[in-house]
C-alpha cells in the first residue's frame, strides 16, 4: 500500500479527502487480505459444540425469566405480610436485579434496585415500576443489561427475536399506552466525564431505534450516566422508549427523577443499606452517577 506523510494525513490527505478512498488502495487491501488471512482448520466437533452452546443459551434465558417471575411473586407476597420493609430505617441493602419493585402502597419514591453487572448502579424506582437485570455471558457473547419498565416485566420475556441478533431478546413485547421502558447498557465513551451533565438530561432522539419501534414506542430519549471511575471513560447509556407519553408528561418526570438519583456504592464498599439510598450512599462517600 502506498505510503502517506504525516502532513498529508493531518491536512488534506489526497487519498481520503472528503472521506473517499482511493480505488488502488482498496484493490491492494483486498488482495492483501485474501493472501494474508489464514485458512484455519475446522474442529471436528464444531456442530456439536454449537448445539451445546445454543442449548445452554436457551436454558439461561428460561432461567432468567423464571427467576424474575419468582422474585416478583415473593415481593408481591411480601407487600401483603406484616413487617414488610417499606422504606423505613431497616430497609436493608437494595435488592440486586432481577428484583421487581412492587410498592403500590408507597406514597413516596419506590424501593432502590441495584444492578450488579452495571457497576452496582442503584436506582430508586417510581412506585409500581419493575426492574430486571439480565446477566451477560462472555462465552455466549451476551452483554449485561438492565431494564426498568412502568409495566410488568417478567412475563413479557419472549423467545429469541427475529432481526438483529443483538436484540435477543428485550423483555417487553409492547408498551402500554403512556408506558416507558428504560434500557441500561454499559458503554465506553472517549472523554465521558466531560460529556455528562448533572443532573443527567434526557435528549430527544429524532429517529426511533428498531427496538423502540418493535415496542410500539412513539418517542425515544437518551441520557448518559458517568461510571464510578472517572479515569475509565466507562459509563451507562440510558435509553428511554415511551409510548405516547410526551416530553413533558409526568411519567418522563419520573424517569428524570430516577436517573437524577442514580448512584454507585463507594469504592470497595458493600452495597449500602439505606432508608434513603441516595442520601445514605453520598454520606458514605458513594459516587454520584452524574460526575461533573
Amino acid at each position: 500500500m502506498s505510503g502517506v506523510s504525516e502532513d498529508e494525513r493531518e491536512s488534506g490527505d489526497p487519498g481520503t479527502a472528503g472521506g473517499v478512498s482511493r480505488p488502488e488502495d482498496e484493490r491492494e487491501l483486498r488482495i492483501l487480505l485474501e493472501r494474508a488471512v489464514p485458512r484455519l482448520p475446522a474442529p471436528e466437533e464444531r456442530l456439536r459444540r454449537v448445539r451445546e452452546r445454543a442449548a445452554r443459551s436457551r436454558r439461561r434465558r428460561r432461567a432468567a425469566g423464571t427467576t424474575a417471575v419468582a422474585v416478583a411473586g415473593l415481593v408481591v407476597a411480601g407487600t401483603l405480610l406484616p413487617g414488610f420493609p417499606r422504606g423505613g430505617p431497616d430497609e436493608g441493602a437494595p435488592p440486586a436485579g432481577p428484583a421487581p419493585t412492587v410498592s403500590a402502597t408507597d406514597t413516596g419514591a419506590g424501593r432502590p434496585v441495584r444492578f450488579p453487572d452495571l457497576f452496582d448502579l442503584t436506582l430508586r424506582l417510581p412506585p409500581g415500576w419493575q426492574a430486571l437485570a439480565v446477566p451477560g455471558d462472555p462465552e455466549l457473547g451476551l452483554v449485561s443489561r438492565g431494564y426498568v419498565a412502568s409495566q410488568r416485566v417478567p412475563d413479557l420475556f419472549t423467545p429469541p427475536c427475529p432481526g438483529n441478533p443483538e436484540e435477543d431478546c428485550d423483555p417487553v413485547v409492547a408498551l402500554r399506552p403512556g408506558g416507558v421502558l428504560v434500557s441500561l447498557d454499559m458503554k465506553k465513551f472517549a472523554g465521558l466525564h466531560t460529556k455528562t451533565q448533572d443532573p443527567a438530561t434526557l435528549h430527544t432522539l429524532t429517529n426511533l431505534s428498531v427496538l423502540c419501534r418493535k415496542l410500539t414506542g412513539t418517542e425515544e430519549y437518551s441520557a448518559l450516566l458517568a461510571g464510578p471511575d472517572p479515569a475509565a471513560d466507562l459509563g451507562i447509556q440510558v435509553s428511554v422508549c415511551a409510548a405516547g407519553a410526551g416530553a413533558s408528561s409526568p411519567i418522563l418526570d419520573d424517569v428524570r427523577a430516577m436517573i437524577a438519583g442514580a448512584h454507585y456504592p463507594a469504592p470497595g464498599a458493600r452495597p449500602e443499606p439505606s432508608t434513603a439510598p441516595t442520601t445514605h450512599a453520598r454520606n458514605n462517600g458513594g459516587t454520584d452517577a452524574h460526575a461533573n
Binding site: 505510503g3 490527505d13 481520503t16 473517499v20 491492494e28 483486498r30 445454543a54 455466549l140
Partner: protein, 169 residues
C-alpha cells in the same frame, strides 16, 4: 435433529471456512475466531428455519459482526485498541504468510471496532458500501468515512504494497 438441521450443516460446511477467516480478521486470533464463529452459529441455529429461506449468509455475517462488537464492549479491559500501531517488522516478505498475517492482524486490531468491521465487510467479504451499511445498521456515508479512516491507518501500518512497490513514508 431439528427441522432444517441438514440445511444448517450444509451451510456450515460450505461457508464455515470463509466465516472463520472473517472471524480471524475481526479477532486476530485463531482460538478467538473459532469461539466467535461458534457463538454466532449458536445464536443463529435456533432461528434457522426462519432465516434459511432468505439470505442466511447475510444474516450470519451480520450476527458475526454484531457478536464481535458485543464481545468488544464486554471484554474492553482485555482488548484496548492501540493508539499507535505496533511497529512493522523492518524486513518484510509479503509472501511469508505468517509474517504477513501477524502484521495484518496487528494493523487491523489497531483499528476501532467499527472500522475493523468495515474493513472486513468491504475489503474481505467484498460487500458494496450499501450492503456494508445495511449489515452494520448505519448510513452509507458512515461506511465511506470509516473506510477512508481505516485505509489511512492501514496504509501507514502495513509496510509493503502488495504489488511490490516501495513504501513512501
Amino acid at each position: 435433529m431439528d427441522p432444517g438441521d441438514g440445511d444448517f450443516e450444509a451451510f456450515v460446511a460450505a461457508r464455515g471456512p470463509r466465516l472463520l477467516r472473517m472471524a480471524w480478521l475481526l479477532t486476530g486470533d485463531a482460538h478467538l475466531a473459532e469461539d466467535l464463529l461458534q457463538t454466532t452459529l449458536a445464536k443463529v441455529w435456533p432461528k434457522w428455519h426462519r432465516i434459511s429461506g432468505e439470505r442466511p449468509e447475510a444474516y450470519v455475517r451480520r450476527a458475526l459482526v454484531h457478536t464481535h462488537a458485543s464481545w468488544w464492549r464486554r471484554r474492553w479491559r482485555g482488548e484496548v485498541p492501540h493508539r499507535e500501531v505496533p511497529d512493522a517488522a523492518a524486513s518484510f516478505d509479503a509472501y511469508e504468510s505468517v509474517d504477513l498475517a501477524q502484521s495484518l492482524a496487528a494493523a487491523v486490531r489497531s483499528l476501532p471496532v467499527r472500522q475493523r468491521a468495515v474493513v472486513v465487510l468491504r475489503y474481505f467479504e467484498d460487500l458494496s458500501v450499501e450492503d456494508t451499511a445495511a449489515t452494520l445498521g448505519c448510513a452509507p456515508g458512515t461506511v465511506k468515512s470509516q473506510s477512508a479512516k481505516a485505509l489511512r491507518t492501514l496504509r501507514a501500518a502495513l509496510p509493503v504494497p502488495v504489488d511490490g512497490g516501495e513504501r513512501g513514508v
